[in-house]
Symmetry: C2
Subunit: 446 residues, 2 copies
């Protein structure tokens, strides 16, 4: 007999939301006073503030500071249920979600399952590189990075020692740029005092990007400023360059048709993401490029009546966005807000409102006093932009306690040029990590 | 060929210290200006402030707040070397320490490897219970506890549901008492709002102790006060009671010869510790009770010339302490200070100073405004004692940043009756945890 997920049978329509990211959480809030039962499913019991994962990875923040327990967020929400569950498949013919702890019927389904790292089919890279999409991956990276410095101490093979201290970041988006900056600051301020025996000047940080500039989503001016900051911090920038393979030791690169190689034990893959579309959505409803679910202007999945998708996993082709909206938090939040209103309208048989994205700007930080910010026509670079970046990120964190603790950490690190959370917490043995990687799990290189 | 640990060959005597606990760290400081090469070996790259591990386990603090990177502590120490290594064996005939990354010769060896959980030979208990001696175990416990609440939601078997919500803590020492108090506060303030669907009143916390009172190391009055606080918080106290077996479902107890049983999925074992004596020390130099290394009044291992042991792992039989000193941080620190001076004297051919322990007092906290403190003849219980407890613990933490962050956390939790770090971070799959437990690793129950 099939096991059922234990949620009380409602007298009102049941809305099942898959994923507790920015979109999923916002939708729960929108439905607070609506006459529905809301069930949120997530594989974690916490929400992750993904924009700051790179700070966990580089020992600047603790994972708890950028995460927030989902149950705590919705104290006092009536008719709300959270279940810690991994969604395995969706059966739209039976209106059913199948999870690892049982199946659940829905009246309305909202897929808000976000995105995952896109390795573009390269199994070697998936197997040997570190992505930075989850809390666990960031913690693994932190341990991996520090452990490689310990290993560098223990070898007399100079080439291998340098490989342990060489970092190749693939992808010049915000994650790649911010990580490159953070690693360079570690190189400059932290690692030389931690490892006086090593010649840390030999540590190198490479940022590799296929395009002609980093931060493609921002203006040309911001890209130029960001690149200037990166170079000032000592990052080696490789533009028009692809990483075509990596075996755990040598990254094979191509630049203008010419092959190259970089010896490195640390390859960070931030070259792309794809929609985390669940099994069971018809293949013709998934975009070929990006693995996203095709939705109409109301976020309804094409060809369905009661299935919606929002955020990174949804691709809404609109005039300004022929390939769907950018995969960023503000889109997810705005789509959730609009969908929440539309669900109310559906229940009241009113007309639905089409979604319209309002771009509130973008920003990225490279290092201390070095950031770029764009809001509409306003552009800023340098120290002021850096303060805006910090302010916006602290204010966006959920919870006063997280805000205060991140503030203390950043204030401290600002004064002391320090990043204190340098603990290597070994999670997996060598056998286990091999096993996990063989099973297809990414980011288990340590 | 045997691999050697890569540490520069010194022109001065080499002191190898095994373990970066309270004793090991203090000794490194004492040897700062002494004409020796100091090599510290530890399996972790951080020092753990063990007295607060129970706070990590109960979601009150993050692991990074109670840990400190060892390399950072010794910035600027000349002739100091840290190696991340697991000590496998000591060969006193060859003056050599054998580790997982190679062997190392020493002129003087100081074993400061601390203590580990003592299961008194009960394999079932080791296999199924949670100890709280390391950062990883505390994180595992935190996830385990929260996951069991999620599981309680998913079962209709009422007996099983209660077993998920029943906590049995074995051992009424400071760890047991503080954990029982913290769990009761979670029950009172946090879990009912997180799990409105569960009748959290059915959650029970049992504290089981073989003796006639908790906190045996403190005075009768303090024990009575602590027990009063525990009962006020709803803890079920079982004195004169032994837990003789546990199969993961039922804890078998004995009280005054009568058998009993408690259905529980959560058994926390804090009933004892034993010296973490490394392999290679002659069996006749190890105490039968407690597995500690017998040392003379100078912390020198009996029958050796250049091997010392300090802290929990050392047993120095003195008049007041016929079975060795209590296994607490102040003993380790004071022995390290004395040994540091004696090593200087040895190098200068001067007379050695015998060790004399100065007991500065003890304390334990049960919950908000509920603690007991004893310093010499001064005894205090209640709110004032609780403030002393907090002050002493914050001041004992290493680093201003840790101090500030723990302060923010505690201040926040004090105002809000909250414990925010409620993230379940799954570390191991079912297969992996079985494998680990089969290999003999404790604390991998999740």
């Amino acid at each position: 007999m099939e096991k059922h997920l234990d949620v009380p049978e409602p007298q009102v329509p049941r809305v099942v939301i898959v994923g507790g990211g920015f979109g999923g959480l916002e939708l729960v809030k929108q439905l607070k006073k609506v006459d529905v039962q809301t069930v949120l499913l997530d594989r974690n019991n916490y929400h992750t503030f993904q924009p700051l994962l790179y700070q966990v990875a580089t020992a600047g923040l603790e994972p708890d500071s950028i995460s927030f327990p989902i149950r705590k967020l919705f104290h006092g929400f009536k008719n709300f249920f959270f279940r810690l569950a991994v969604v395995k498949e969706i059966d739209t013919s039976k209106n059913e979600v199948i999870t690892d702890i049982g199946s659940l019927k829905y009246d309305y389904l909202v897929v808000a399952s976000g995105s995952r790292t896109n390795f573009f089919g390269n199994e070697n890279i998936r197997y040997h590189s570190m992505p930075l999409k989850t809390v666990v991956q960031s913690l693994q990276f932190r341990s991996f990075l520090l452990q490689n410095f310990e290993k560098a101490l223990q070898t007399n093979d100079l080439k291998l020692r340098e490989a342990y201290m060489t970092f190749v970041i693939v992808g010049g988006g915000p994650t790649g740029v911010e990580l490159a900056g953070a690693l360079s600051e570690l190189k400059r301020y932290v690692l030389p005092v931690d490892y006086p025996e090593l010649d840390v000047r030999r540590m190198t940080v490479h940022l590799v990007d296929a395009g002609d500039r980093v931060l493609q989503a921002l203006s040309k001016k911001s890209s130029v400023d960001a690149e200037k900051y990166l170079i000032k911090l000592g990052v080696q920038l490789h533009k028009h360059t692809l990483v075509k393979d990596y075996d755990g030791k040598v990254a094979l690169t191509v630049k203008n048709g010419a092959d190259g190689e970089i010896f490195t034990k640390n390859l960070i893959w931030s070259a792309g993401v794809e929609g985390n579309s669940p099994k069971g959505i018809d293949i013709d409803k998934i975009t070929e490029r990006g693995n996203r679910i095709k939705v109409d202007d109301y976020n309804k999945v094409i060809g369905t009546e009661n299935v919606f998708a929002i955020g990174d996993v949804a691709s809404m082709e609109q005039e300004e966005y022929p390939h769907g909206h950018p995969m960023v938090a503000p889109v997810a939040i705005q789509q959730a807000t609009n969908l929440g209103k539309n669900i109310k309208s559906i229940l009241k048989d009113k007309d639905l409102k089409t979604f319209k994205y309002i771009n509130k700007g973008s920003m990225a930080t490279v290092g201390k006093n070095k950031a770029v910010v764009e809001v509409g026509n306003f552009k800023s670079s340098g120290a002021f932009a850096w303060f805006i970046w910090m302010f916006v990120h602290i204010m966006s964190l959920i919870g006063m306690q997280n805000k205060s603790i991140v503030f203390v950490n950043w204030f401290w690190n600002y004064l002391n040029y320090d990043r204190s959370n340098r603990l290597i917490i070994n999670r997996f043995s060598k056998t286990e990590r091999k096993q996990k990687r063989d099973e297809g799990k990414a980011g288990i290189v340590i």
